[in-house]
């Protein structure tokens, strides 16, 4: 049963992370082309730093860093009378009330919290990639389109909402499609973040030597479980490819690009 649950976990992660990363990306890209200098620096640094470092390291780093950050903030808010330093040698100590989640919380809270941290980490890392794609896409929208909008008397916010954003998707889609593929292929890393995902279960269920599973009348089946996972991912990426192709055709319709022109001539 838990195995099916873990497949759902992976799908849920994708379903939540993809929009969240897109949101982070949109924010990052908008910040990176902002007129306000500190905001622009922030956007550009975010994109550059996250993309420059192996992301596995980021996955390992962010989970601890976010967890400690949240506990640190709660510690300061909830236990102002606590005077001991938080970092004592090799220990990270906060008061009981600041523990996240609370030690007394039921199991599902712990699991949801872990999952939420995983989603946030994925969103931060993939948001940077998405920001880079969207930043490029916003620049790729032909100048003439924006100038036409200006000459119609739209202000910059209207241009952004009515012209730039609707048109940028066709330029962003190839990049976002790649990103989606990469995101699918990054989901096994959930395992590293301590979420009981399909990798975890393939290892546990398939293994024969763990005493918990000695009831299973088979030998080492982990090879087959991982083969199944491999096939699962292959099918998943293949379907995505087909869907992205369709979406690209649909988005190209009526755009001021060679693709759009071709479709116009065929019609």
């Amino acid at each position: 049963m838990n195995l099916y649950w873990s497949v759902l976990t992976v799908l849920a992660l994708l379903a939540i992370t993809a929009p969240a990363a897109l949101l982070f990306g949109f924010g990052g890209a908008t910040a990176a082309r902002s007129r306000v200098a500190p905001l622009r620096w922030f956007g550009k640094t975010y994109i550059a730093v996250v993309r420059g470092v192996p992301d596995v390291a980021f996955f390992l780093f962010f989970v601890i860093a976010l967890d400690q950050g949240i506990e640190y903030l709660r510690h300061h808010a909830l236990c102002p009378e606590w005077t001991d330093p938080i970092r004592q040698g090799n220990d990270f100590l906060v008061c009981q009330a600041a523990k996240m989640p609370l030690g007394t919380a039921p199991q599902w809270v712990h699991e949801t919290y872990g999952f939420a941290l995983a989603v946030l980490t994925f969103a931060i890392v993939f948001g940077a990639f998405a920001a880079n794609v969207l930043f490029g896409a916003m620049r790729a929208v032909p100048r003439a389109q924006l100038e036409t909008a200006e000459s119609y008397g739209m202000n910059s916010r209207q241009i952004f909402r009515r012209v730039l954003v609707p048109q940028m998707w066709v330029y962003a889609l190839p990049g976002l499609g790649n990103l989606w593929m990469v995101l699918i292929k990054a989901t096994p890393l959930l395992f590293l973040l301590g979420v009981e995902d399909i990798v975890y279960w393939a290892r546990e269920l398939g293994g024969a030597e763990t005493p918990r599973f000695t009831d299973y009348p088979h030998g080492d089946w982990r090879v087959w479980y991982f083969l199944a996972l491999l096939v699962f991912y292959l099918i998943f990426t293949r379907i995505s490819e087909v869907v992205i192709d369709r979406a690209m055709k649909r988005l190209t319709l009526g755009q001021a690009t060679t693709g759009g022109e071709q479709q116009r001539k065929l019609a």
Partner: protein, 277 residues
Amino acid sequence: MAAPDGASGMSCLQTIQDYGLRAIGIGERLLPREGFTLCEQFTLIGSGMIWNVYFGLTALVLGFFFATALALGKASPRWWLRKPSTWFIFVFRGSPLFIQFFFAYFLFLSLKSHYPFFDPFSSAWLGALIVLFFNTSAYSAEIFHGALQSIPKGDVEAADAYGLSGWARFRRVIWPTTLRLAWPAYTNEAIFLFHATTLVFISSFPAWQQRGDALYYAGYFADKTFNPFIPYPILAFYFILLTLVIIGAYGVVNRRLNRHLPSANRPKLRWRFNMIR
């Protein structure tokens, strides 16, 4: 933290002697247990980079030739060459490297229990290397295949006009042009590959006698100190350094590949960092 006295310079040299080659089993046997100094973290994580460089470099060099063969196979008009190459590329590009590592490890484990020949395959130096080799071959083959398809028609026609055909045409015209076109993308592939080597020991391959790669040691320190803010930035520092070296080396080759072109036409190397595969 390190004792900031005059002896710390000396003791750091000592640490480098003890742990500089720890990742390949030379030097001190036990890892530091407590009172981790910055020097120890730098040394051990740096020592782990030996593995990352070994995996990356070997897979890249071997993969280059296999990728060329695969790309030619995929572009071949003969179906018995084209189908296997296309499938190979699809399988290795379409599934997560992380799962490939797991699968390969357990595959080698079960093969090992039947045939003693497969003994070394379940250790990282060979088993993980094979996975990385196949993986980078598939990705590079796709890049080379794309370049092969976009060779200017005129170049091939000119070769025909000179009476070049078969092997001579391939070696003198098609192959150099393919490389020239593929090189910027291939540079990115090399960078991704080196980043991907960090997955070896955190997937299933065991770090025998705690001989692991840079991420393995960084994780060790983060685990022991509950402080991710020191080991992971050190790891990032090493990787950024490595990335700069790769970009430099590939830049030299790129200049050589393009040396016959007028300088304005030379494609600039553009690098995009870091995607998981």
